[in-house]
């Protein structure tokens, strides 16, 4: 009638029991002890019970012996199994029955982990921005929750569909909240670095950028020029697509127009869809404060007619903004920068073997790769790239350079399943070394991106590798780089530049200048 779990082979096993006189334990405690000793190896069955007539009958039925002499106030421990196991079980049971459990008050006071944005808002009601970097599949849902809870959003996550991006941004617009991203890598809000941001002085220049490294370059350059940043807002790379309509950039622009701290505004993006560009520029024209626009590679005249200030490069945007703030004309133009370094370049170039004809750009910053391609193209250099601009060619094999090649090592092809080169430059450094060893390379052009979240000593490993390469070969290409960062960054820009120069790298002030230099050298080699 009462089923027994364990196949019973009484003849091969022993059974024994122990009676604890006048020991009462509640039934749950008894079941606990019973469960513990049942699990001991070699124990076939165990029972711990008070010695009532019914319980003793049950023990007999189960073949656990007759605990004669036990009364209702006595506790019986009965086991069956290997002889040794039975003994161990009895002594274990005795220990368990006599032990006093220690009270642990820690759990009473422990604060439960907060796992949802809603719970966070309940715990921290003043929360006003959600920084979301969860996997892309879940990112839109978290962003929507944040908005519904009244938080602004920075969405670092990528792989969010345009449809979801649109839905999230539309919802935010209805609630007058800001969405930066998806795929927004950097921002500075109220002086606080979000994502990969640099430590820049606070000031009166406000930015909205659809490009992460573009934003970093302009803010750093502003800092280097002695001015400061009020707000640096990101939009994510898709915001200016026709489908999204620049919701984030328009929102950011409006916010900066209203912001009393902001006196000059800078907008940075790849060329937007026509209709989107017009909407943004119309708003910029009516800003009531100067707006500098760098739509990388866009026809200047098309922008100028909206009454805004056109910048030809990222660095130029910074210089124009600072000049507008100080109410002076922009100090240097791009050509002047190139001429300033001409002598040094000519001297270094003269040591290059004639077969070294090509630029090999290896970038961590996507926008730096893009801008460098633009500048090289303007100098007549058509290049290959994994992210080619209009007029350039795609690489057949992104791992293998050919002729002039500029690669964005932060692109999906290189980052799938591994960290971005800004965080872990190993792969990028390997590519630089490969280009150094290529007998056709005239210039290795690269960037170092500093700031929160970036590698802490980006120059250290690289300069060691360059040192190794120069010891093994006497005929090396030129190395031209620029360092995007500030001296206040954890990595210290000055320190990084010094390390690069020690290793023989020519360090330009900005990405545009580095690209000019590279193009200048390549064109000299070609002319020869």
């Amino acid at each position: 009638m009462r089923p027994v779990n364990t196949p019973w082979k009484g003849s091969e096993m022993s059974s024994c029991f122990k009676i604890f006189k006048n020991l009462y334990r509640d039934s749950v405690s008894l079941m606990q002890v019973s469960a513990r000793i049942s699990k001991l190896p070699g124990v076939a069955q165990a029972s711990v019970a008070m010695g009532t007539e019914a319980n003793r009958a049950q023990l007999r039925d189960a073949g656990l012996g007759d605990a004669a002499g036990a009364g209702p106030n006595d506790l019986i421990v009965a086991v069956a199994g290997d002889e040794d196991a039975c003994e161990l079980a009895l002594s274990t049971a005795a220990d368990l029955l006599s032990s006093v459990e220690e009270a642990d008050s820690a759990a009473c006071n422990a604060k439960a982990a907060v796992v949802s944005l809603q719970a966070m808002l309940e715990a921290e009601p003043a929360t006003n921005l959600a920084l979301i970097s969860v996997p892309g599949d879940y990112a839109a849902a978290e962003a929507e929750k944040a908005i519904r809870l009244g938080m602004n959003v920075m969405l670092f996550s990528d792989n969010v569909s345009l449809q979801q991006e649109k839905a999230v941004k539309t919802l935010a617009r209805e609630r007058r909240l800001m969405v930066m991203g998806p795929d927004c890598g950097t921002a500075i809000v109220n002086g606080m670095p979000l994502g990969f941001a640099n430590v820049v002085r606070r000031g009166a220049i406000g930015l909205v950028a659809a490009s992460g490294t573009g934003l970093q370059e302009v803010t750093c350059r502003i800092d280097q020029l002695g001015a400061g940043v009020s707000q640096a807002l990101g939009t994510g790379g898709h915001d200016l697509h026709e489908e999204i309509g620049g919701i984030s950039m328009l929102h950011g622009l409006d916010a900066l127009i209203e912001d009393a701290q902001t006196r000059v505004i800078v907008l940075v993006s790849k060329p937007p869809a026509q209709a989107v560009a017009e909407k943004i520029l119309a708003r910029a024209r009516a800003a009531g404060k100067p707006v500098v626009v760098n739509f990388l590679g866009a026809e200047p005249a098309l922008i100028e007619r909206w009454g805004v200030h056109v910048a030809s490069t990222l660095a130029d945007a910074a210089e124009r903004a600072v000049a507008l703030l100080k109410d002076v004309p922009p100090a240097i133009n791009d050509d002047a920068r190139e001429v300033a370094a001409r002598e040094a370049l000519v001297e270094r170039r003269s040591q290059l073997a004639p077969r070294r004809r090509y630029i090999r750009g290896v970038f961590a910053g996507g926008t730096f790769c893009y801008e460098s391609q633009l500048i090289c193209q303007r100098q007549g250099i058509v290049a290959f790239s994994n992210t080619p601009i209009k007029g350039n060619h795609p690489l057949d094999n992104v791992w293998q350079s050919t002729a002039h090649t500029l690669v964005d090592m932060g692109d999906d092809a290189f980052t799938r399943g591994r960290p971005h080169p800004m965080i872990d430059p190993t792969l990028r450094n390997e590519r630089i070394v490969a280009e150094l060893r290529d007998p056709e390379t005239a210039v290795v052009l690269f960037d170092l991106v500093l700031g929160y979240g970036a590698a802490l000593e980006p120059a250290a490993e690289l300069t060691t590798l360059i040192g190794d390469a120069s010891r093994t070969g006497n005929d090396l290409p030129l190395l031209i780089a620029h360092v995007c960062g500030t001296d206040a960054d954890p990595q210290n820009r000055n320190h990084q530049i010094h390390a690069l120069r020690e290793a023989g790298v020519l360090v330009a002030n900005c990405n545009a200048q580095a690209a000019y230099w590279a193009a200048y050298v390549a064109n000299l080699q070609k002319a020869e």
């Binding site: 027994v4 049950q58 970097s133 599949d137």
Partner: protein, 475 residues
């Protein structure tokens, strides 16, 4: 325009930890989530959930549903037969069972056994085969207790002639019904249907129910909310431990029973029966909970859970906003301790309507009150408190009528918000007995289990569709 620039930036970091440490290092104010994919990683459900977060329709509905739950005053008003209180039973041969709807073929052993027992009790058949034929040819209809404002523990069988307690919500007059607890061992609710079981049930109808009825008429109605509140201060959580509550009930009824003029022998037998069963109050605790949850039911758009119930195969959930719709999933296993000689292979799946107590903020939610219970999973009183604390994160608020001494007399967490369950992957905890999977063996252990996530996910999707339809927004 957002006035973020004029505020002090306060960030919730959801994802990469390094972003929080950077921000912290820069002097920023940032708190990190221990984020995990909501809805157990179901992306589409996660999106539907997001659409409901802080939604004004849902928030307002929940406020109303929760207030109605808090306002409920369950009062034991009467003892009748089931057929007197449930008119459908007069119209046809109807037997009620625990949990969500389930076809006879799919029912677990104990429920089948109990239904057959009820058919014997009603005298509709005298053999197992005869009884099964009546069910299969539709002569005897089967339906969930919850479809008739009723609840029953374990198999939860209620048939027309059985005595039922009538519990009424004082402010609204809405009633709930429950059968009477038979005690431990061979009992109908665990599927036993032998002559002694039927005999006991007959006796309960013939002697126990009249004695209780007489006592009630002498004593007057019994307010259950204060009684439960008192029991919570005496070590009960009124699901798996009802020792104190049973005592408190008997204390009220004995003088009245003695003064009822019934033969002393009958009174003595009735009292002895109740005193011999520490779980006697469980059914009343369930009916009180049912009345409280019904008060919160049918508020459109509310994400508050109003029913959690199991039929031994599936676990079922109802939301206030989606009315009578059931959301079901396979029941989760019970983590527990077994009586000597039994193990996990002998156990039936989670069974019974008794999870209505957790739905009402009692049982597992009030575990801090009942340190004896937490030992079922090898825990300490501290674990009991941790369970009660954790339930706060998935509920709409606290019920000030039910306070927990071990937590500084904090109100018990109540009003499960299905959104919070899905958003945080925190499942409602349920204290439960474990039935043997074969009919009639009885209880073989007890422990703790949880309500399965898929129920809540489905419920959230249905609610999201309802909200979408109402607001006319495209999905």
């Amino acid at each position: 325009m957002s006035n973020l620039f004029d505020q002090s930036l306060k960030v919730a970091n959801c994802g990469l930890d390094s972003f929080a440490s950077n921000l912290h290092e820069a002097g920023g104010d940032v708190n990190s989530l221990s984020w995990q994919p909501p809805a157990y990683g179901d992306v589409q459900a996660g999106l539907e959930l997001a659409s409901l977060i802080n939604h004004p329709l849902v928030e307002q509905a929940n406020q109303r549903a929760f207030a109605q739950y808090l306002d409920a005053q369950p009062v034991l008003v009467d003892v009748t037969t089931a057929v007197e209180s449930i008119p459908a039973m007069a119209e046809r041969k109807l037997i009620l069972h625990a949990g969500p709807p389930i076809a006879w073929e799919n029912m677990c052993g104990p429920v089948k056994g109990a239904i057959v027992g009820a058919i014997f009790l009603e005298g509709w058949a005298t053999s197992q085969e005869q009884a099964e034929r009546l069910i299969l040819d539709g002569t005897v209809a089967l339906a969930p207790c919850h479809h008739y404002q009723a609840v029953g523990p374990m198999a939860g069988i209620i048939s027309p002639s059985m005595p039922v307690f009538v519990v009424e919500n004082r402010p609204t007059g809405r009633r709930a019904y429950t059968n009477m607890n038979e005690g431990l061992g061979k009992v109908l609710r665990f599927g036993a249907n032998s002559p002694e079981v039927i005999e006991r049930l007959r006796w309960m109808g013939e002697e126990l129910a009249p004695a209780l009825s007489a006592a009630l008429h002498m004593f007057g109605e019994v307010e259950l909310k204060p009684l439960i509140a008192q029991a919570l201060h005496m070590g009960d959580e009124v699901h798996n431990r009802n020792a104190a509550a049973t005592g408190l009930l008997v204390k009220r009824l004995i003088p009245a029973m003695l003064g009822s003029g019934l033969p002393l022998d009958e009174v003595r037998r009735a009292i002895a029966f109740i005193l011999g069963n520490d779980h006697f109050f469980l059914n009343l605790s369930m009916a009180a909970s049912k009345v409280m949850m019904d008060a919160a039911a049918n508020v459109p758009f509310s994400s508050m859970v109003t029913v959690m119930a199991r039929n031994g195969v599936e676990f079922g959930v109802r939301l206030s906003g989606t009315g009578n719709q059931w959301f079901t999933a396979r029941a989760n296993p019970v983590e527990g301790l077994f009586f000597p000689g039994y193990g996990v292979d002998d156990a039936a799946a989670d069974l019974g309507d008794s999870a209505i107590t957790e739905t009402a903020g009692l049982g597992g939610f009030a575990m801090a009150s009942s340190p004896a219970i937490v030992k079922f999973v090898g825990g300490t009183p501290t674990d009991a408190i941790a369970h009660s604390l954790r339930m706060r994160s998935i509920t709409l608020g606290g019920n000030g009528a039910f306070t927990l001494p071990a937590m500084n007399f904090a109100p018990t967490a109540a009003g499960i918000d299905a959104r919070k369950v899905v958003d945080q992957n925190i499942l409602p905890v349920i204290n439960t007995g474990i039935a043997h999977k074969q009919a009639g063996v009885g209880q073989i252990g007890a422990g703790i289990t949880t309500a399965p996530m898929p129920c809540f996910i489905e419920a959230i999707r249905a609610l999201a569709a309802q909200v979408r339809e109402h607001t006319g927004a495209a999905s």
